[in-house]
Amino acid sequence: TPALAEKLGLGRAALPEELAAWDHDVRPDGLGLPEGSGDVLTGEELFSEHCAVCHGEFAEGVDNWPKLAGGMGTLDRDDPLKTVGSYWPYLSTTWDYVHRSMPFGNAQSLSDDDVYAIVAYILYSNDLVDDDFVLSKENFTEVELPNAGGFIIDDRDTTELPLFIREPCMTDCKETVEITAHATVLDVTPNDTTDDAPAAGAAE
């Protein structure tokens, strides 16, 4: 077993302060959440100041920047809108990701209370809590996101491998072949090495 393997004696023991500085991850069961709390209205102010330039005042997204709210009930449609409210399974992921990696370009600048408040505002933007809601370490795991049950573990072993592990056809595999779609109809491929814009009009 790993625990019995012979060691080389390389590296040194990590100090508590070092572990505290880098180990910030939060799990769906709430493991890793720090003490703290924040309410929707505080979150709205913080969101307006730090987030809305990209994500919109109502978390609806600006230009191509990610939309954090909306899209409920669109997952089985063409072009589903995947947001915290419509798609994300766990609130812990929102807290963890905002805390470590947002705002884009100034990550790790938000306090624990700031993050609780911003996450409360994102919940409010998705119509999941009222405007007087206070999110805290204590009530965090009581929040269940709408799509918590929307994920299955990779099932290719049962749904695909039995179909695709096979003896392939080599001759007389089909009678006719027709072209059904052309990339040049869309014409969104850059032309030369200095051109990173679409050739003529973006697809979306």
């Binding site: 625990a3 590296g11 070092e18 991850d25 399974p89 001759t171 109809v185 869309l186 032309n191 090495t193």
Partner: protein, 431 residues
């Protein structure tokens, strides 16, 4: 006289052309003039032979001219390419390996694709620290110098972005193998088995998963089951013989053989052992695959068997006219080694086994060749990879029947190039 002199040709090559159509027109005209040239008598003496050329008379560069060289300027089109409309900005974005123009299997680091979520950071070896914590006997800190003292392994692996070919789910969209299949590179890595680092810290019996994260602002945290971490994951510091490039995770990255590129954490700074997965943003919001009924697969780690013909292809039109034609491409599988690649030129009515340049290696790219004689008529060219598990690369229709159109990731379908009689090729779908 069969071609313009190299010196004037050189000036026009790096930029290819302002429009592809103009370039193709010129290429086809040259090809037409060459019809049957392989066996024909020369029209007259070739001045490139009969006249003394400057390189045969004067002097080239000294050995002190280029301490670390770049490709010759005539290869200026063999570069990474960006597609502006794919992402909101260029920092959390993707670019593409010029696989259409490469051969063999090793990807030159300088044009190997990049995918960042908060940009390519600069992290010196002196500033580098790797932490192992969580359910271990002793949480540890390693310096870069510590890592160099562990027993090493050298292995060649492909790294394919989970989103490679993702823009093609709904239809033919981007016109070139670089754009449809270029979120991939294949390198020879040297590093320390992750198992040895975990053993040094001592994994507790209740440890079942590891969280791996980078030093960059995005952190890119992912959960990996302990069995994979203890099996073949490599904490790498060299690629293709030299240090990792900045944009590929200098000084240390994780290799997760056969698994989606997102998990190959760059600028690796921390590995935590836990008893449950973390469900980070990169394994919930992203890198989950939505099916037609609105449910989504998670933890779709393995990249299935896949292949693509790199030439001829939209960026590599046939310019030499009918006759001998090398059809070549790449094949790979995250489930094992490539054992066979079949090629069709009639849209899948009939298939021919291609020749592998070398026996397939587990979780590494294979190069295939089909030595064909082209009669000058239209072709619908496809390749079909088969791996050591017996998995046969499916068609796009077969994948759509199971997954629908909104999976985004893991599109390993058979690609079709329509090669026209003039040698130009286009990305198409066929029945």
């Amino acid at each position: 006289m069969t071609d313009e002199p190299e010196t004037t040709k050189a000036a026009s090559v790096p930029q290819i052309a302002t429009t592809r159509r103009g370039f193709l027109g010129a290429g086809v005209a040259a090809g037409g003039a060459l019809l049957g040239a392989g066996a024909a008598r020369a029209a007259g003496p070739d001045p490139l032979i009969t006249e003394i050329q400057p390189w045969a008379q004067g002097l080239g560069d000294g050995v002190d001219a280029t301490p670390y060289g770049l490709p010759i300027r005539f290869e200026g089109d063999v570069v990474r390419r960006n597609v502006g409309w794919l992402t909101a900005d260029t920092i959390s974005s993707i670019n593409f390996t010029p696989i259409h123009a490469l051969d063999g299997t090793i990807t030159p680091q300088g044009c190997a694709f990049e995918r960042h979520h908060s940009g390519a950071i600069e992290l010196a070896k002196e500033d580098y620290r790797l932490m192992i914590n969580g359910l271990v006997e002793t949480p540890l800190i390693f310096t870069y110098a510590d890592l160099e003292r562990f027993p090493r392994e050298t292995r060649t692996f492909f790294l394919e972005c989970a989103a490679n070919t993702g823009m093609e789910w709904a239809g033919s969209q981007l016109n070139g193998a670089q754009f449809t299949h270029g979120m991939i590179h294949n390198m020879e890595y040297t590093g320390v088995p992750l198992r040895l680092l975990l053993e040094e810290a001592g994994v507790k019996p209740e440890g079942k998963w590891v969280l791996v994260e980078g030093a960059d602002a995005s952190s890119n945290g992912r959960s990996i089951p302990l069995e994979k971490a203890m099996d073949d994951c490599l904490v790498a510091f060299k690629a293709n013989g030299e240090a990792l490039r900045k944009e590929h995770g200098y000084p240390v990255r994780l290799c997760v053989p056969g698994w989606e590129g997102n998990m190959w954490i760059k600028w690796l700074r921390r590995i935590e052992v836990g008893d449950q997965p973390w469900e980070q943003r990169e394994e919930t919001s992203k890198y989950t695959d939505t099916l037609a009924d609105g449910t989504s697969r998670k933890w779709t780690w393995v990249m299935d068997a896949k292949s693509v013909v790199t030439s001829p292809s939209p960026q590599m039109p046939i310019k030499h006219g009918p006759g001998p034609l090398v059809i070549t491409g790449l094949a790979w599988s995250g489930r094992g080694a490539i054992t066979r690649v079949d090629v069709t030129v009639d849209g899948g009515k009939s298939w021919m086994p291609a020749r592998l340049a070398a026996p397939g290696q587990e979780m590494a790219v294979s190069r295939f060749y089909l030595d064909h004689v082209w009669d000058g008529s239209e072709m619908l060219v496809q390749s079909r990879a088969i791996d050591s598990t017996g998995y046969v690369q499916p068609t796009k229709t077969e994948l759509r029947d199971i997954r629908g159109l909104n999976s985004i990731y893991h599109n390993n379908c058979i690609q079709t190039w329509w090669v026209k009689a003039n040698g130009e090729a286009e990305n198409v779908e066929i029945s």
